[in-house]
């Protein structure tokens, strides 16, 4: 049975036997551990974890960047607080109290969204690790709330709300105690809500399937945000702008939600509609309690020791006698086909990579509709020079592949040991990986061509061939440099994870340099051809360069076996890291 809020639970494994008889020689019975001792110990743990990061040079640099970031946060918090105080005062003095609701909404959105963006789906550290200790449930609940209370979003959000209190107090001094009370409840609501969101997101991120669904949803939302500006731009046109109609419709609705209720509680007290103000505060308290209950449901499950094992979650749909041979690739050795199959399967199961690969198409759509709907530019960007759309989209497709090409073995992780232990040559393995990249590039180019034809106009034959020639030049050179860097500076990556994964600095810098050089050469060839009015000139130039880049590629590919043996220790050590 789920415990009620405030009720203390017994930990899973209390540490004594059934009779509670275990007692070490000469020891008194286990004493109750004071909550204060535990909370002090946890605070010390967090501090010590921070101090220990300073042991390394990277940690010290990290501290420097944290100081800079903290300075930025301080400016944001105090500056924002001051600004909100002035704006609240002005809006109340000028008889526009509804503006205060906008401020509360802004603070609310920042408070809830900022921590998610800042942590990039990382889970809250060590909170559930604490469960091995004899921590009471209420202490655990408090610890989780404390984690939320001391994060930058809470500090900034609290100062901003205090700014609103200051502004309203200047406008009507007698309101101060009431406004402070409302704002305190609003702060509590936000802290509880952010922790509830984290606790539930943690739950969903604990399993691969739900994690991937969450990731896709997140990216869809981010993409949706990209289309907000074009849509609002379109709504702003006409006699009675749709945006205004939307705002009029939203005002009464927003008052039913916590930020609106907090604003309403203050505004109604100013005018004064005490009963309405009280009911708004009451509803805000009710929201806080409901959210706290949801947090409790999650934390209680964690406290009891829930099983989020993938083994229990994953379905088993195998059928007996289901023999399916691997792929074959005529003209290539078996390991090439095997690695190609593996790479394609990895790619198809990687939401973030698939997303990266559709980005060129998304960019074309955004350019097309974003520009069309913007207030200043009525004509889509590529509408002036539609011939450029296909080469640019193809160049973007090469860029989208950078992570894969410049860190060939990153996704293999511990599997690299298998590759080293197998009798397959690294030349074959790398060739298969490059073939995969080439297939993706060809597919992307085809998609880009179709998208350009649908969105603008069909690229001319000469431009299409020149772009293909550009690809034949750029891809092998990119692959060649990528293959070298994949061996010299490997970095383990999990392509199933959304959010930032620390990239290796060297490949990142080199890839930028190479991409710049390739794009520069490509652009020069196209510019020259355009200047001379004949795209076939670009084709000839790029085909000649493709011959050179293919030769470089072959030379480097043939050295893969030797280099892989030379770099095996770095590779195994780096890719098998825990």
């Amino acid at each position: 049975m789920m415990p009620r809020p405030g009720e203390d639970l017994k930990p899973n494994d209390a540490g004594t036997n059934e009779a509670g008889e275990f007692r070490a020689r000469g020891n008194p019975p286990f004493p109750a551990v004071p909550r204060r001792t535990q909370l002090t110990a946890i605070a010390w743990l967090r501090w010590q974890l921070f101090v220990n990061t300073l042991r390394t040079t990277r940690g010290q640099l990290e501290l420097l960047s944290r100081i800079l970031v903290s300075f930025f946060f301080a400016v944001l918090a105090f500056g924002g607080g001051l600004g909100l105080a002035i704006l609240s005062y002005m809006s109340l003095s000028s008889g526009k109290p509804l503006v205060v609701a906008v401020f509360f909404w802004m603070i609310f959105v920042f408070w809830q969204v900022f921590p998610i963006m800042a942590t990039a789906f990382a889970s809250t550290p060590d909170s559930s690790d604490l469960l091995r200790f004899p921590l009471s449930y209420s202490s655990y609940f408090l610890v989780r709330l404390a984690y939320g209370a001391f994060d930058p979003a809470s500090a900034i959000g609290s100062l901003w709300t205090l700014g609103i209190v200051a502004g309203t107090t200047f406008a009507k001094p007698s309101i101060f105690p009431w406004a402070l009370l409302v704002v305190l409840v609003f702060v509590a609501f936000n802290i509880v809500l952010s922790q509830t969101i984290f606790a539930w997101v943690e739950r969903w991120l604990a399993q691969r399937r739900t994690r991937e669904i969450m990731g896709v949803l997140f990216l869809v939302i981010m993409l949706g945000c990209q289309l907000i500006a074009p849509l609002t731009g379109r709504m702003g046109k006409g006699a009675r702008p749709g945006l205004q109609r939307m705002v009029e419709a939203i005002v009464p609705i927003q008052q039913a939600f916590p930020p609106g209720l907090a604003a309403d509680a203050i505004i109604q007290a100013i005018y004064p509609q005490i009963l309405t103000a009280l009911s708004s505060l009451g509803l805000l308290c009710a929201y806080t309690l409901v959210i706290a209950y949801l947090l409790h449901v999650r934390l209680a499950a964690q406290y009891r020791g829930e099983n989020l094992s993938e083994i229990a979650a994953a379905s088993t749909r195998a059928q007996a006698g289901d023999l399916r041979p691997g792929w074959s690739l005529p003209g290539f050795a078996a390991p090439v086909a095997a690695v190609l199959e593996k790479e394609i399967r990895y790619l198809m199961r990687s939401g973030p990579m698939l997303f990266a690969l559709i980005m060129p198409m998304v960019m074309l759509i955004l350019f097309r509709f974003g520009a069309m709907n913007s207030a200043r530019r009525q004509v889509p960007f590529f509408a002036h020079t539609p011939d450029l759309a296909f080469p640019v989209a193809t160049a973007y497709a090469i860029l989208a592949l950078t992570n894969l090409v410049y860190n060939n073995f990153g996704g293999d992780a511990a599997g690299i040991q298998f590759l080293y232990a197998s009798p397959a040559s690294f030349r074959d393995i790398v060739l298969a990986k490059n073939l995969t990249h080439a297939v993706i590039l060809a597919f992307e180019s085809l998609l880009a061509w179709t998208a350009v034809a649908l969105l603008y106009r069909r690229p001319s034959f000469a431009v299409t061939i020149a772009t293909v020639a550009g690809l034949l030049f750029a891809a092998p050179l990119n692959f060649a440099v990528g293959n070298l860097l994949s061996l010299y500076s490997p970095r383990k990556v999990d392509y199933s994870k959304f959010g930032r994964q620390r990239a290796s600095q060297l490949p990142a810098l080199v890839s930028i340099g190479v991409q710049f050089a390739l794009v520069g050469i490509g652009v020069s060839a196209f510019w020259l051809a355009s200047y001379l009015g004949n795209f076939w000139i670009a084709t000839l130039l790029l085909l000649a360069l493709a011959g050179v880049s293919f030769t470089i590629y072959r030379v480097i590919l043939n050295s893969m076996d030797r280099l892989a043996v030379e770099k095996r220790e770095t590779m195994v050590a780096e890719l098998c890291k825990g």
């Binding site: 993938e310 195998a318 289901d322 074959s328 095997a338 690695v339 298998f418 199933s496």
Partner: protein, 271 residues
């Protein structure tokens, strides 16, 4: 007449900066032996097995597997051996079935043979109903079984296993042991490291003990036991000596050989 060793090293060493992790190791493992390679934590076991399987370059010395110099014929050697390294070397984003197919193809099996053997191995390892699950979703024990299946899919003559029973439950361990014993019965050679001395004692016919990078003992279990017992009878009043008529366990042999000490009762008296 002694057969040519399946695994043999001469003066094998490996240095990591100032640390000599493996120091002049001379190993000899004969065909068909179930060979246990033991040592305390940090003794150099994993480093040695990595060098024997081509995952790590030696700083000095020579390695011969099946009569072939590993440095000169790495591909030929790899074709004939199977490896379950420390990190299991799995590809998490493939299903169990896909991974075994992939492994088979990498060892040069035809598509049909790889698929057939994958199915048989999954069945044998009791993973058939999990074949469509991603490897990353497997439990630790299931991953161990899968890694083992991938290591044997091409029917290797020599199998190197680094801690194959670590984190594996009794049922899975039983499955693995029966497969390994089957391989030995068919003439394969198995070289394993393990901290679980009871398992090594039950499975292995020969053992070697490495301590601080140096090989301190090597031979048949009976030979080592006799050696240690002879040492013990030379020195009287040993508190680790077995009762009359009892055999020394491998743990006792191990502790004797590496100089491990049991802590006395006076320490941690509050426990």
């Amino acid at each position: 007449m002694n057969a040519a060793p399946t695994i043999s090293t001469e003066g094998l060493s490996r240095r990591f900066g100032d640390l000599l992790a493996v120091d002049g190791v001379n190993l000899h493992v004969s065909p068909g032996q179930f060979f246990g390679f033991l040592g305390p934590n940090g003794a150099g076991k994993s480093t040695t097995i990595k060098m024997l399987t081509g995952l790590l370059a030696p700083s000095g010395g020579r390695i011969e597997i099946l009569g072939l110099d590993l440095g000169e014929n790495p591909v030929e050697v790899k074709r004939q051996i199977g490896v379950v390294p420390e990190g299991m070397a799995l590809f998490g984003r493939l299903t169990g079935s896909e991974f075994l197919n992939f492994a088979g193809r990498m060892y040069g099996l035809t598509r049909e043979t790889a698929a057939q053997r994958s199915a048989e191995l999954l069945e044998f390892m009791q993973l058939a109903d999990q074949r469509k699950k991603l490897v990353t979703d497997y439990s630790h024990g299931m991953q161990k079984k899968l890694a083992m299946a991938a290591a044997v899919i091409h029917g290797p003559k020599v199998l190197f296993l680094d801690e194959p029973f670590e984190g594996v439950d009794a049922i899975a361990a039983g499955t693995l042991k029966s497969m390994l014993q089957g391989m030995i019965a068919r003439g394969a050679t198995i070289f394993l490291t393990s901290h679980v001395l009871e398992i090594v004692e039950r499975l292995c016919s020969h053992v070697a003990i490495i301590h601080k990078g140096k090989l301190v003992a090597q031979g048949s279990l009976e030979g080592l036991r006799a050696g240690v017992e002879a040492q013990m009878s030379a020195g009287a009043g040993d508190d680790m000596a077995p009762m009359a008529g009892e055999k020394l366990t491998l743990e006792e042999i191990f502790l004797r050989t590496v100089g491990g000490e049991h802590r006395g009762e006076q320490e941690l008296s509050w426990l």
